[in-house]
Symmetry: C2
Subunit: 427 residues, 2 copies
């Protein structure tokens, strides 16, 4: 459709073409008609372009897709210092329906259900779009950090034979006439792959049949997983977490337009992220010794403490009780009721869970026996350990939680293109 | 476990440390005991290290995980010119079971079922591992090429409300008590997202309940998807495909060790990949005008022709009959029985499917009406077009097929870590 003879120029490149005849193309973001002059604001993937109209009778529905040939003209009054004059306008596709709200409003004036129900059009709002651009940058930063440290990307099965890691909250499907399950995490597979590549990561969907309707749970989310061998203990994993989170934040920080649009307070990542042992956290919070998990309020209190004491948006809570961790968790050698595991809290919310895993075959058999769990459903998984596995550990980060916390959204659904939850299966 | 005081050095870096005391760590790949001297070959993520033994009575099971402190000593007889002498050996984890075959054999001596059944250990064989390293490189090349051209990464739902794109071959699951389906492709979502970002890509799992047990079908595979707006027609998509495939091949070609190990014949990618219209292909193959699809033998014949006539491992077949393409396909303007779509064949196998899509809302309504399909199940999808969408198109590449063809594997399962098919749900 675009005339190949005249180059298409993106909004952000226009100022390099003053005086030239170019084409711009995009969505009609806004039409402002004054008495004798009018303006079309065209939105393309890079930004906004102002087009000066001389035909006072022109009527085009907003969100229509236009291709405009015209002259790039300097105008210090225009939003980016240039505008298009003498436009020839071609309609590529007329908008047949109006969006649920004006997409040119600087902030989003709609409720969450409206945003989600009409996501194919509401996501076009520059603020909503920006959140997902930051999300993409964060994932790129995750991959780059790990690739630089010798990690290999893997793709593991999302359909599994047994609902092993946690019997609850698993989706069942019909696998050629027999039951199978959607994977709740790539945990077992990434551990197996340490035996092959030593260092692996995966960025992919995981599934939780969450019966709770909360602002921080999704039935499908994007899990950023890493696992690696030849560690001393979980402290080596935490060092890796620190470098990966710093890489993600650095990649996000490069998206200056979106950062500004969303007024994001980009966190600094301390060289050494402060840490607090679970037992010390309990003492600090005045909880009893039989407490084995942190409530959301506890996480907020610990984060507030980290911000105040250490000036850090991040804090590791280490040593979670073994009773609250899965069977593959490595215990703390000196205090085996605690574990060589951690959570990373980010501004009051659990962002990353990780730790050292068991690596010796007999230790797995013993751990399952102590928990009264059968060995048989885990046989394929355990075989890797019978064939020799190094001390290893890893972590998983929920992408949507990270982005929601980063942009200050109070619901993780605002960091998900098309969320899935107890009530939502479309669009 | 690793002594932090002595640095761990990878096999490929050892030659930079001649004369130094270092640590190496990895799996015991092979133990060779001669009369008065023995050798341990240690496999780490980078390669192999030879360790010279002086204790003739040492017995360690292969695949045990060892950490070895010793002196890096030049020896032109050693595989990489250096070896470790005066070793102190520490066992990190003993192998309790033997692999199904010796992992040090240069080629893989086992049948496909053995390889797949025992994947957690057989994938450690350097040749099998190498295929997956090339796969990771290919995905990185895909992403880099697209990111450089302004594409944004997206993550779309894998659980969908209706089995819309093709009613057959879809997995059904229990979604909080009601039926839902596993996504067969991100097609609809990537099109919607053209309305937001103009240019998007996704690398993720897709699911096909394939009732056929063939060497080229999987029930879960990794689909590399891209979609973008403001095209003239499918030829613009094919130009993009060419640049992305070239980027993938270039990324693969950098993995020289794996290329050599697998004796991969890295294909050149012509500046302009040759193309053949479906109608012309039919004439060339002597098929009747009522033929609407290519059989595998046809694809092989066309590829052979491309290799002979054009010296190309790649060829586009364009203009597939509309009768064989989904409803969202854009017809060929001059001959509407054909379409603005294409397949890319690579060495005899369909690798990529793509084309221009319909972009106007009324065209969608008409296309569904002509096929006698109801509008209602597509309403969420169609709404994006009612809100204004540019001319657009895209493509999808099956990662495992690409890798299998690249390495000359006759079964796509050899390019999949843990394949899922009609009969296989584990490991």
């Amino acid at each position: 459709m675009i005339h190949r003879s005249t180059p298409r120029v993106l909004a952000t490149q226009l100022s390099e073409h003053v005086g030239e005849t170019v084409q711009v193309a995009g969505w009609l973001h806004r039409h402002r008609q004054l008495k004798s002059i009018g303006f079309l604001i065209i939105r393309d993937r890079s930004g906004l372009t102002q087009v000066v109209l001389t035909d006072p009778d022109l009527r085009i529905a907003e969100e229509s897709v236009l291709q405009i040939r015209g002259v790039v003209t300097a105008n210090s009054q225009a939003p980016v210092g240039v505008e298009i004059t003498k436009p020839e306008i071609m309609m590529l596709a007329a908008a047949e329906q109006a969006p649920p709200f004006d997409l040119y409003r600087p902030t989003v004036p709609a409720s969450l259900p409206v945003l989600l129900d009409q996501a194919p059009v509401t996501l076009r709002h520059p603020q909503l779009k920006a959140a997902h651009a930051l999300s993409a940058a964060a994932v790129a930063g995750f991959r780059t950090s790990l690739a630089e440290q010798g990690f290999t990307e893997i793709h593991t099965p999302k359909i599994v034979e047994s609902a092993t890691e946690s019997g609850a909250n698993v989706f069942t499907l019909d696998w050629f006439g027999r039951p199978a399950y959607l994977a709740q995490s790539p945990q077992f597979y990434k551990q197996l792959m340490v035996g092959v590549f030593e260092r692996v990561y995966e960025t992919g969907p995981v599934f939780r049949a969450e019966p709770h309707d909360t602002a921080r749970h999704l039935a499908q989310y994007t899990s950023l997983d890493a696992e690696f061998g030849f560690i001393s203990d979980h402290q080596d994993v935490m060092i890796m977490v620190r470098s990966v989170v710093a890489g993600m934040i650095a990649a996000v920080a490069e998206r200056t337009a979106e950062i500004e649009l969303l007024d994001v307070d980009v966190p600094g990542v301390p060289e050494v992220i402060p840490q607090l042992h679970f037992a010390d956290a309990m003492r600090m919070l005045g909880k009893g010794e039989d407490t084995i998990d942190l409530a959301p309020a506890d996480e907020r209190a610990i984060s507030a403490w980290a911000a105040e004491e250490h000036g850090s948006d991040f804090i590791f809570v280490t040593g979670y009780p073994m009773a609250k961790r899965p069977f593959y968790t490595h215990p703390e050698p000196e205090r085996p009721a605690y574990s060589n595991s951690f959570d990373l809290l980010f501004r009051g919310l659990e962002l990353i869970t990780g730790g050292q895993r068991l690596h010796r075959y007999p230790d797995y058999l013993q751990a399952l026996a102590e928990r009264g769990e059968p060995v048989e459903p885990y046989q394929g998984y355990l075989s890797a350990f019978a064939h020799g596995m190094p001390p290893h550990g890893g972590f998983a980060l929920g992408l949507e939680r990270f982005v929601a916390r980063l942009i200050g959204a109070d619901n993780v659904r605002l960091a998900t293109l098309f969320p899935r939850d107890l009530h939502r299966l479309a669009p």
